[in-house]
Symmetry: C2
Subunit: 346 residues, 2 copies
DNA sequence: GATATGTATGAAAATGATTTCAGAGGAGTA
DNA sequence: TACTCCTCTGAAATCATTTTCATACATATC
């Protein structure tokens, strides 16, 4: 409440009758100090609970020990989980994370990038947002590259022409899991509710979905490929309503993420369709929502701990200027729960 | 990718043929500079996209422009939403937020507090966690006070003896809303699933719940007051299972938060009980989960934007050493949705 | 005993900003 | 003309660290 004077290395040095260099050496262990002086300094450090000023340290070492992380919406459990794992992993290496929430506002994104430069964050992590665009917005890429010019950037998407590292879910492999699961349950009339077709991840999922259908000799039906521009429950709800208008309804629905699945299930509930008895639902991300729905959702799962570790590993290597691949891939697993059942459609 | 040399105020000064003081004055507007020199400096700033080093600035001004925020679990939408609002509001005043996720690990809490001191964050915000204990752990309070000694702390709970500011939900008023809503629907056999009875918020809810029942002349039944130590869906599930074993079941259930309500609804679904036809459910927090459940949950809502603003307002005043109340209160509203209906119990 | 080697130490520089202080020069006044 | 007053400017101090460099002293080597 009262703003006590915070100690400095000088205060310690004075009271211990040594130079600041010696105190610094005791703190960091960067060089040997005689037993006698070390004792004296350590005692004072404990006595006053001295914590060195990280700003001065950062300034002198030109290392802030801070990472900047930008997410579109921290309320989305997918982002929150990934943030948590990144924070946990980065903490092991002494890094703190500044979190910026962009709400997909492009102006804010730029503002935040500039702030991060000012802060001298050692790297920028960008999760979600405009980093997965199919058609590259050159102006945006230039903005990003201007930053990447001085600070390494690690993204979870794929941004053509941008000078950054990617740690990214393999949407093909993930979709293979989904399709094989549905095939194994006897489904052939499968719809897919995608997100914005401007994003790589949606496009890639559709692509694999079609490949898989072709491979099995199942006809691809355009009316089963439906999408919305937002990855939320309202989008899923609207799409599902449209699917339910079809004369020949699908027996299974793939949703681009849990949010979308949740919305779709609401539309089904309203129409009196039971999951999975009448229709199966499967989605991607396996967030906390998958577990709380009734029935519990079958969803593609990513091992978020590994995901976070891979992001931080990439960050650290980039900071140290180590050579490494520009694109790394996350492999998915399937968390089979209660929302998929055998095909009951005749 | 390539770590370009980052410019300093000296580089600009040299190229502009002025002193660093002049550049600083142009950057901050702290004093007048002749039109001619200002032009020259501003041109160079734009040309090189110069961003002043925030660490140096922080060091020299002894103001980091960073706030530290500690939450128990950022995956919990309640915390995530509150964080988001704080971040949004703090951003207006030029502050960035370092987020630490404690997962309720006491060791981590201490580590993080120390880290924040080192970082010279201007204030600490602590949301959830061990800041709402009924029985005060003096050792913990001492830890907190050691920090509060040099940095203001704002918490969302109530920690007796701790030298910090509180911005806190009025559990009594919130519970009044809940009880009145249920009464107005004709419910009298009302159960309450609480969280840990070691926390103020649970104790206060029980207290008001009993007061309200007494006021209406309804007998208080111990078997309707059930609780679990964790504020999650598993706890809600177990508690509800026990409630369902009762011969005389309640007609309405109050859950301590949305997570708990979700768990309770799962237990109901498994027992074939329909919500709200057979039993009503109401909860606190009105997170995103309340909206995605089927049926949608009726839940106590907090106006998170105001909540965040009040926290940041308190933080800023504390930083500036302004006088202010130690305890501020958040008033709730009720978001009535589909999980409560008229009492059907005979 | 003279020289080489090594270790502990402190003074001082560097990190990159802000701010204080003093001085230069111009304008206004008696 | 001499004085004050004001504005603009830069040199230097400050913030709190780390790190380099030089030195003092002890030990080892021939």
């Amino acid at each position: 409440m009262n703003q006590n004077k915070i100690m400095t290395i000088y205060d310690i040095a004075q009271e211990a009758n040594v130079s600041v260099a010696t105190v610094s050496r005791v703190m960091t262990g960067s060089a040997k100090v005689s037993e006698e002086k070390r004792e004296k300094v350590e005692t004072l450090i404990r006595k006053y609970d001295f914590k060195p000023n990280a700003l001065a340290k950062g300034l002198s070492e030109t290392k802030s020990k801070i990472l900047g992380i930008m997410v579109a919406d921290i309320r989305n459990p997918f982002y929150a989980t990934l943030f948590m794992e990144c924070e946990k992993e980065a903490g092991k290496y002494g890094y703190s994370l500044i979190l910026y929430n962009t709400l997909s506002n492009p102006d804010l994104e730029v503002t935040y990038l500039e702030k991060m430069i000012s802060m001298r964050v050692e790297a920028v992590i960008k999760i979600g947002g405009r980093i997965d665009d199919v058609v590259t917005d050159m102006e945006y890429v230039e903005q990003v590259n201007k930053v990447a010019n001085s600070i390494p950037i690690v993204i979870t998407g794929k941004l053509d022409g941008a000078d950054c590292y990617s740690v990214r879910i393999d949407a093909f492999q993930a979709t293979d899991l989904v399709m094989e699961h549905l095939f194994s349950l006897g489904h052939t009339d499968i719809a897919m509710i995608g997100g914005s077709t401007d994003t790589q991840s949606t496009v890639e999922r559709y692509m694999r979905y079609k490949q898989q259908l072709r491979r099995r000799g199942i006809q691809i039906r355009d009316e089963y490929m439906i999408h919305h521009d937002y990855y939320d429950d309202r989008g899923g709800y609207e799409c599902m309503k449209n699917l339910l208008l079809l004369e020949d309804r699908p027996s299974a629905v793939i949703a681009v993420n849990d949010f979308t699945a949740v919305g779709a299930m609401r539309a089904m509930a309203e129409a009196g369709i039971r999951v999975p008895n009448d229709m199966s639902v499967i989605s991607y991300d396996d967030t906390i929502m998958a577990n709380i729905m009734i029935p519990k959702l079958t969803s593609v799962s990513y091992n978020y701990e590994n995901f976070g570790q891979m992001i931080i590993e990439t960050v650290l290597k980039a900071i140290n200027g180590e050579e490494q691949p520009r694109l790394k891939t996350i492999i998915s697993e399937l968390s089979a729960r209660d929302s998929c059942g055998p095909c009951t459609k005749k």
